[in-house]
């Protein structure tokens, strides 16, 4: 069985689509954050795979993956802090309860 880049890309696409669905459909803020993480992981997988196939020595994709991890770690830290702050305010982590900025 030959595992080409398409396999990794397809797997990443599936993971990304699932994460996307979770981000769109779930109402819990924590669930949405988790879905975002899933999407970030899918992207990372894509980049690492392409890095392996296209630039094995330069490892460009791996570096992008590292920085993506940094960003998503920062994002998850801030996001969870936000969730906590919102929870203190509204006693809820439902995204639907965070709509005071609506038009």
């Amino acid at each position: 069985m030959t595992i080409g880049p398409s396999a990794f890309l397809g797997l990443a696409a599936v993971l990304f689509a699932l994460g996307l669905y979770g981000a769109v459909a779930r109402r819990s803020a924590v669930m949405v954050l988790m879905s975002l993480e899933l999407m970030a992981v899918a992207v990372n997988l894509n980049m690492v795979a392409l890095s392996r196939f296209v630039t094995p020595t330069e490892m460009t994709g791996q570096f992008f993956a590292i920085f993506t991890m940094v960003v998503s770690a920062a994002e998850i830290g801030l996001g969870l802090a936000l969730v906590l702050a919102i929870y203190r305010q509204t006693r809820s982590i439902e995204l639907s309860s965070i709509d005071s900025l609506k038009g």
Partner: protein, 635 residues
């Protein structure tokens, strides 16, 4: 010599410091006014000394000017002209000013607005000094008007009462009538010469057309008549006695009212160029001197006696100047300033002591007010023209000048006036200081009040002896009185005093006013009605004026307002049309835009639901479209 400019500036500075302060603080620092005027006095002494050895003809000892503005083609400047005349006036003003200020410290110390009183008094002094020192007619006029303002403020100082209020208005408006003449005269003068400077104007006066000179001179005289309360513009001065007595002493006896005389003396070349104007001046002076003196003889109010006396004496000065005795007139101005302010200050003490201004309620004050009675007596004798007091000398010079110039009718009038003067002086003194005591709690004035009176009395007593030096100082040959003239005038004065004594001094033969009234009949009524001047003014000027004003007001209301309202109505119709256009078309457009924006906003608002995930879906949708496009395009 630039310090001369400080003479008016010091009191002005004192005023500038006092004016913005709060009432309480200003009351505390009222000594600032005394200090300002005192400083002016010291500087004036220096200035006088610097001018003294001169004696040069018509030449300014010191002249400087500073341009302040250029209006149109007119260069306006402030200037200092210190000549002997001005130096003398400086001394008179500052000495009397200091005396009055010191006196006021005692007289006004219980008034709750005493600080403001002192501030205005100081400002007045500054204005008077500026007037005296001015080197051009414009600055003269400005100072003149500031003095008018101060006079108004001081007459109406007790504005809580109605009489001072009305009196201040009357004074202001009446002098304003004269000021209008003054202003027109200045305009003609400027149109003729193109300058306001004394040098230029007076130097060229002899070359003017006689008509112009006469017009300018008469208009200036008109202004002077208003300020100096000459018939027929004298009506304000007696009423002005409603103000504080020391202020009356300074303003309505010694200085401001003399400014008119000073003006005529300053502008003498114009009057001389005219000739007619001199005669008019003399006539006005003569009439005023006699009529004022007669009125003084029937007044019961101490201050009003002095007020009419002032009118009369100012008339004397005009008479003298008009008759060619300008030096005599000025000398009378000086002596009068001292003895009349002395008399006013004495009157202030009397009023304080007797708690009334009515002579009929006074009597026998001499025992209780020794100092006042003596000083007041000196002033009274000076006023009556008794040797050796100052009035004798000046009056004598006037009579001499009139006689010498050949105005015999005027001379007769002047003699009559002198007689009347002596009579009312006697009446005043005897009614106040002799006879039965009618009031209780009599008390001599404060030291602050008595000291200035003493000073003024001393000056009054001796200043007449300077008569020859005075003339020389002003550039004329000095001389001692002509014995014949001196004797005749003394006889007249003494006979007046005798009549006064006969009428009021003999305690057992007191003529009550009633009997006097019966004896003199209509004449007395005319006098008590003050020659019907006020009534005449009321009838022929004020009432017609009011009627005219009312009809004008009606005209204003019907015709002009009608026109205005008609125009307004037409405009309103127009605007209504415009408004409806505005409302339908423009607003319609604007509102349409707003409605459109609102509708689109309302529609878009639904997009912004505040739900993060809704936004996510938009982004996702856009992303999908983008990817579709890429894929399709790539195909």
């Amino acid at each position: 010599m630039a310090y001369v400019a400080l003479i008016p500036l010091l009191p002005a500075l004192a005023f500038a410091v006092m004016a913005p302060l709060s009432r309480v603080v200003r009351n505390r620092v009222r000594w600032l006014g005394v200090a300002g005027v005192g400083g002016a006095l010291l500087l004036s002494l220096v200035a006088f000394a610097s001018v003294w050895p001169g004696g040069h003809e018509g030449e300014a000892a010191y002249h400087a000017s500073w341009p302040i503005a250029q209006v149109g083609g007119v260069d306006l400047s402030l200037g200092i002209l210190l000549d002997p005349l001005a130096a003398i006036m400086l001394l008179v003003v500052t000495i009397v000013g200091v005396c009055v200020q010191v006196y006021s410290l005692g007289y006004m110390h219980r008034d709750e607005r005493v600080g403001w009183y002192f501030a205005v008094l100081t400002l007045f002094t500054a204005a008077m000094l500026a007037l005296v020192l001015s080197d051009n007619f414009l600055m003269f006029y400005m100072a003149w008007e500031v003095m008018g303002l101060c006079s108004y403020l001081l007459i109406g100082f007790w504005h809580e009462q109605e009489a001072p209020r009305k009196a201040s208005q009357k004074a202001f408006l009446t002098t304003r009538v004269g000021d209008v003449g003054f202003a027109i005269g200045l305009a003609i003068m400027y149109a003729t010469v193109g300058s306001f400077d004394f040098d230029v104007v007076l130097g060229s006066a002899g070359a003017w057309a006689p008509g112009v000179a006469t017009a300018v001179a008469l208009l200036l005289l008109f202004g002077a008549m208003g300020k100096s309360a000459q018939v027929p513009l004298h009506v304000w001065l007696p009423d002005a006695m409603a103000g504080p007595t020391p202020a009356s002493a300074l303003i309505h006896a010694a200085t401001m009212v003399a400014a008119g005389v000073f003006l005529v003396a300053r502008a003498l070349p114009i009057f001389e160029a005219s000739g007619v104007a001199l005669t008019v001046t003399m006539a006005v002076g003569a009439i005023t001197a006699l009529l004022g003196g007669l009125l003084a003889a029937v007044q019961h109010d101490v201050k009003k006696v002095l007020a009419y006396s002032t009118i009369s004496q100012l008339g004397y000065m005009f008479l003298a100047i008009g008759a060619g005795g300008a030096i005599a007139g000025m000398f009378h101005l000086v002596t009068h300033a001292f003895f009349k302010s002395l008399l006013f200050l004495g009157a202030g003490v009397i009023i304080h002591a007797a708690h009334t201004q009515d002579m009929r309620e006074m009597g026998g004050l001499a025992r209780h007010l020794p100092v006042t009675s003596v000083t007041f007596g000196i002033g009274a004798l000076a006023l009556a023209g008794i040797f050796p007091f100052s009035g004798f000398w000046s009056k004598d010079e006037i009579l001499y000048a009139v006689w010498n110039d050949g105005h015999y009718v005027t001379f007769a009038v002047a003699l009559m006036a002198a007689f009347v003067t002596a009579f009312y002086v006697a009446r005043l003194w005897f009614r106040v200081f002799t006879g039965p005591v009618q009031t209780e709690n009599l008390a001599e004035g404060h030291t602050e009040m008595l000291v200035p009176m003493g000073v003024l009395a001393a000056i009054t007593a001796v200043i007449g002896l300077t008569a020859p030096r005075f003339s020389e100082f002003l550039g004329h040959a000095g001389h001692w009185p002509d014995p014949a003239m001196a004797v005749s005038s003394s006889v007249v004065a003494l006979s007046g005093l005798a009549l006064g004594w006969w009428a009021y001094g003999r305690t057992r033969l007191v003529l009550n006013t009633r009997s006097l009234k019966e004896r003199s009949g209509h004449a007395y009524t005319v006098l008590t009605q003050k020659y019907y001047f006020d009534v005449t003014y009321e009838h022929f000027i004020i009432r017609p004026y009011m009627r005219a004003a009312e009809s004008l007001s009606r005209f204003d209301g019907s015709a002009i307002d009608g026109a205005v309202n008609g125009a307004a109505g037409a405009w309103k119709r127009l605007t209504e049309v415009a408004w409806s256009f505005d409302g339908r078309v423009i607003d319609g457009f604007v509102n349409g835009v707003a409605r459109a924006a609102r509708a689109s906003g309302g529609a878009l608002r639904r997009i912004q639901a505040g739900r993060v995930q809704t936004y996510q879906r938009y982004v996702l949708g856009a992303l999908v479209l983008l990817m579709l496009w890429i894929v399709v395009k790539g195909a």
